[in-house]
Each structure stands twice: as structure tokens, then as C-alpha cells.
């Protein structure tokens, strides 16, 4: 009955795709984004802008639109900052737009669009994969693909460690605040509080690492035999279809690119 509880059931068929299929989609989508980004119209890589629409649509179809928005907000912020700094700071001869003292040069606008949308595309599709896949599905898929169990462990525990560190850093921040260290306010105040708070965080992780290694050994992690898995990956049955669509779309993009080049 416990094995039943450990199973992951997903009613959404896109969400339920096997992690390796999702990874294929992620790779092909990123490749397409780069190919499309190399097609310039008057020097602007305009095609990667509508291409980005696929990400929110895919997330909506996977039933994780809200989760995606939450996870993606930070990426959006970074992409916007990059776009703005590129647009305003890179100067060239041709002015693309001017309003009062502010001037946007063509060169800056071009690189701004290219970099920020490439980031949005690639980070977006990865966000889709991680939001539709549980950590243990990923690590199981890695092991199935022939990765050594120790390497898969490192990957998996790093993912968990990021979460735990996030929680710990809150605890440590609170402790620092209790001692009178300013952790709220402007960016410099925060930065000053941030670096000291890293010290206990990192030290704690290192000290824990020694005992962690010994614990793993106590639980037979080093034994090189066949391991049992309580959790099995269950394909949704639509893997072939999804992979075919992804490959076909990539082929179309590639052919389009070649045509643009030849004509």
C-alpha cells in the first residue's frame, strides 16, 4: 500500500511525460531559439519574441500557469534589467528612438532584444521542465540513463540543499536581525547583512558534509550491487507523439533558417 502512496499520479498528460522526453523538448526548444535568434531583420532578432509565447502557452496547457508565473518572476526581472541596461548604455551612430535626454541607439536595442529574449526563452523552458517534474523523477531518470548513482546523488542533494539553504538563510537572517544587524532597507544595507550571513550558512554545510558522508556509508550507499527502487517512473504513453512534434518543429525551423540564408 505504501508503494501506491509513493507513486506520482498526474492527470495532465503533458505534465506526465517522461523526464527524458521533457529534456529533449527543452534542448530542441533552446536550439530553435538560438537558430531563430540568428535570423536578423534590419539587424533585429525579432523572431524570438513571438517564439517566447510558446512557453506560457505550454505551461498553461500543462496546468501549471500560476506556478510558472511565480517561479518566473525573478527571471523576468533580470531579463528586463539586462534589456534596459543594454538599450540605454550601448551607443552607436544610429539613434533608434529618442525622448528628451534619453536616447536609445540601434545597436543597444538590437543586443538588448537578442540577449533578454534568449534568456527568457531558455530559462522559461527550463522552468517549465522543473515545475512539471518532481526532483525524484529527475534523479530516477538520470540513474536510468546510466548515470552513476553517486553522480545522481550529487545532483539530487544539490537541488534539496538549495531549498534547505533557503530556509536556513531565513533563520540566520532572523538571528542576525535579532542581534541588531540591519537586513531590511536599501540594497547596500542588505548586501552588508548578506555576506556575514553566508559564513554560518556555508560553515554549517561543510561541517554537515563530513557526517553526511559517513551516514551514507552507514546506509550502504557505497555498496556496488543492484539497488532497489521504491519509486518507478511511469511513462504517460504520449512520449513518442510529443518527441515527434518537437523534432518536426525543429526541422521546420532549421529548414526555414536555411531558406532565409539561401534566398
Amino acid at each position: 500500500m505504501w508503494r501506491e502512496k509513493l507513486r506520482i499520479r498526474k492527470s495532465n498528460q503533458i505534465q506526465a511525460l517522461h523526464p527524458s522526453t521533457k529534456f529533449l523538448i527543452v534542448c530542441l526548444f533552446s536550439a530553435c531559439s538560438l537558430i531563430l535568434g540568428s535570423i536578423k531583420m534590419n539587424g533585429y532578432a525579432l523572431l524570438i519574441i513571438p517564439w517566447f509565447l510558446i512557453v506560457p502557452l505550454l505551461c498553461a496547457a500543462s496546468g501549471i500557469f500560476m506556478k510558472f508565473c511565480k517561479a518566473f518572476a525573478k527571471v523576468l526581472l533580470v531579463a528586463t534589467m539586462i534589456f534596459l541596461t543594454q538599450s540605454f548604455l550601448v551607443r552607436s551612430d544610429v539613434v533608434a528612438w529618442s525622448g528628451g535626454v534619453l536616447k536609445i541607439y540601434e545597436k543597444g536595442l538590437q543586443t538588448g532584444i537578442f540577449i533578454s529574449f534568449t534568456i527568457l526563452n531558455i530559462a522559461g523552458i527550463f522552468t517549465w521542465m522543473f515545475q512539471t517534474t518532481r526532483n525524484k523523477e529527475i534523479s530516477r531518470a538520470l540513474e536510468d540513463s546510466g548515470m552513476h548513482h553517486k553522480a545522481a546523488y550529487v545532483f539530487m542533494s544539490t537541488l534539496q540543499m538549495i531549498q534547505v539553504m533557503g530556509q536556513n538563510s531565513k533563520t540566520i537572517m532572523n538571528a542576525q536581525r535579532a542581534r541588531g544587524v540591519e537586513t531590511e532597507g536599501g540594497i547596500f544595507v542588505r548586501a552588508k547583512a548578506f555576506f556575514p550571513s553566508l559564513v554560518p550558512l556555508i560553515l554549517g554545510s561543510i561541517i554537515g558534509a563530513e557526517e553526511r558522508a559517513l551516514t551514507l556509508e552507514s546506509k550502504g550507499f557505497d555498496v556496488n550491487g543492484k539497488k532497489t527502487h521504491m519509486f518507478e517512473l511511469e511513462p504517460s504513453g504520449y512520449e513518442k507523439l510529443a518527441a515527434s512534434i518537437a523534432v518536426a518543429a525543429t526541422a521546420a525551423v532549421l529548414i526555414g533558417r536555411i531558406l532565409v540564408w539561401v534566398l
Binding site: 526532483n135 546523488y153 561541517i207 552507514s218 546506509k219 550502504g220 521504491m230
Partner: protein, 288 residues
């Protein structure tokens, strides 16, 4: 019965340390017995455990002279993983014992059995038994990181018990437990002893050692200063100078003897105290 664990003239020091953490220790531990290890902070209790489990020197490096035998074979001659099935080790810090790759307590406890390739049905059965035994069945679906310190300690114990090793080395399993939790952990350990496991337990709560252990090992500055029957050792007031606590009832017994009440012997548990002091009170031959 032969010794299951044997230390012959063992001296060990950690790398870069000036002083030896363990000095000239010779011990013979017998199968199926429950050994309590006591001593003040830094006296070498954890190091002794690491030596028995083979972590020192295979993991910690450092220098070892003398030999440590488990089942007649030097710990250094064991293949990796082989000792994990023989000796279960529960560490002092429950937090760092979480594997970090499992989402639920149930899977965390099952982790060791998965590594040894035990069939799924058997894993399920054994894990259910272990979580029931340690009283964490209700937490089985929670995330290991969301447990309290005491609950994590029980989980750490469960994930070793589930492996059913012949020898269990347990380093302060109750440091974060309340009195009731401590009592129940000792019940679990006693259950392991009834199943013929050899137990080596480091514990500061001497009252519980007095009650449950068969024999006591006292460490001071890396040396074994006493080893043997708990009755003789835990009633010996000279140990107080080495920073070792004695059961309260033993302190009372010693005071009574000094003030002229002739006790048969010094009691070390409440039970004994009631009997021995009661008997002395009833005869009252000492009372003028």
C-alpha cells in the same frame, strides 16, 4: 562466548592533532550485551565509536597503532559497505543523518534497504515495523527536514534499526528528546538487546545507563579508566573527579553509608534503592 569486538592496545590521534584522542585502549566486548559508554565532553567517546565502526582511520585518516577487530577481523580488512550490514551507527547530530534525497520519512527510512537491494515487498514490511517501533508512523508522509530535532533523532534510529545489524553503535540518541521520549528510546534499545543485538551506547544520562546497560565503559582523556560491571562502577564516588556523573540514588547511598547507615551495597537504580535502603531501615540494628 568469544568477543565480537576487540580492541588491542589501541592508540589513535586525528590528523594534525597534538594529543591522542584514544590512548592505549584494550577492550573485549561480548555478543548480545549492552555497553554504556560515559565520560565528560571530549573524553573520546565518539572517537571510540568511530574506531569500532572503522571510520577512524579509514575516513578520518590520522594514525592508529594496535588493532580493532570486529568478529575477529581487523576493521581495515573489510570491504566498503560490508561493515554497514554488521554495525549500525547512529550519529550524535540527527540533522546531518538525513540522506537529503528523499521527500518523505518513509522513503528516508527505506534508503538503506534500497542500497542493499532488498526486494520492495520486504522493504515495505521492514520500514513499517521500524517506524512503528520508533513511534513515528504518524510522521511517515512528512518531509524529513520538517521534523523537530527529537523526531529526527527517532527517524535516524529507525533508519538504522531497519537494517537489522548485529551490532548497534549509538552516539547520544537522546540529546534532543524530552524525558518521555528518552524513556521510549531506551525501551526501543532494550528491545534490540532482547533480539540478541550487541549495543554500544554513548549517553550522558547515567540514571538510564544504570537501569538498562549490562556493563559500563568510562573514558577520561582518551583512556578507559573503568570497564566492567555497572554496579561497581556507577557507585564509585572517585569518578566524580573525572567529571563523570553518578546516579542520584548512588550519591544518596554513599552519603547514608558515610553517616553510619550500613547498606548491603550502594544502590544504583531506584528499584535497588528502595530494596536496599528499605532493608536497612527495617533491621535498624544501627539505630541506637
Amino acid at each position: 562466548m568469544g568477543a565480537i569486538i576487540e580492541l588491542n592496545n589501541v592508540t589513535y590521534s586525528y590528523p594534525l592533532a597534538n594529543e591522542c584522542a584514544i590512548k592505549n585502549v584494550s577492550l573485549k566486548l561480548e555478543e548480545g550485551r549492552f555497553y554504556g559508554v560515559i565520560g565528560q565532553n571530549g573524553s573520546g567517546k565518539t572517537t571510540l565509536c568511530s574506531l569500532i565502526r572503522g571510520f577512524a582511520p579509514s575516513f578520518f585518516r590520522g594514525s592508529l597503532t594496535g588493532e580493532v577487530l570486529v568478529c575477529g577481523k581487523p576493521t581495515l580488512d573489510y570491504k566498503p559497505g560490508e561493515l554497514s550490514l554488521k554495525i549500525g551507527y547512529v550519529f550524535q547530530n540527527p540533522f546531518s543523518q538525513i540522506s537529503g534525497v528523499k521527500d518523505t520519512v518513509f522513503e528516508e527510512v527505506a534508503f538503506g534497504l534500497e542500497n542493499f537491494g532488498v526486494p520492495v515487498d520486504e522493504i515495505e514490511e521492514r520500514v513499517i515495523r521500524a517506524v512503528e517501533l520508533t513511534g513515528i508512523s504518524a510522521l511517515a508522509e512528512k518531509n524529513p527536514y520538517e521534523l523537530s530535532g527529537g523526531q529526527q533523532q527517532r527517524m535516524a534510529l529507525a533508519s538504522i534499526i531497519v537494517l537489522e545489524p548485529d551490532i548497534m553503535v549509538i552516539d547520544e540518541p537522546t540529546s534532543q528528546l524530552d524525558p518521555e521520549g528518552t524513556e521510549s528510546v531506551f525501551e526501543i534499545i532494550k528491545g534490540m538487546k532482547d533480539r540478541k543485538k550487541t549495543i554500544i551506547l554513548v549517553e550522558h544520562k547515567v540514571d538510564l545507563i544504570a537501569e538498562h546497560a549490562d556493563e559500563v565503559i568510562v573514558l577520561d582523556k582518551g583512556e578507559v579508566i573503568r570497564f566492567g560491571s555497572k554496579d561497581a562502577i556507577l557507585s564509585d564516588e572517585t569518578l566524580l573527579e573525572c567529571g563523570v556523573q553518578l546516579p542520584n540514588i548512588a550519591l544518596l547511598g554513599n552519603k547514608l553509608t558515610r553517616s553510619g547507615v550500613p547498606l548491603e551495597r550502594i544502590p544504583i537504580t531506584e528499584q535497588q534503592g528502595v530494596e536496599i535502603i528499605g532493608k536497612a531501615l527495617r533491621t535498624r540494628s544501627w539505630c541506637k
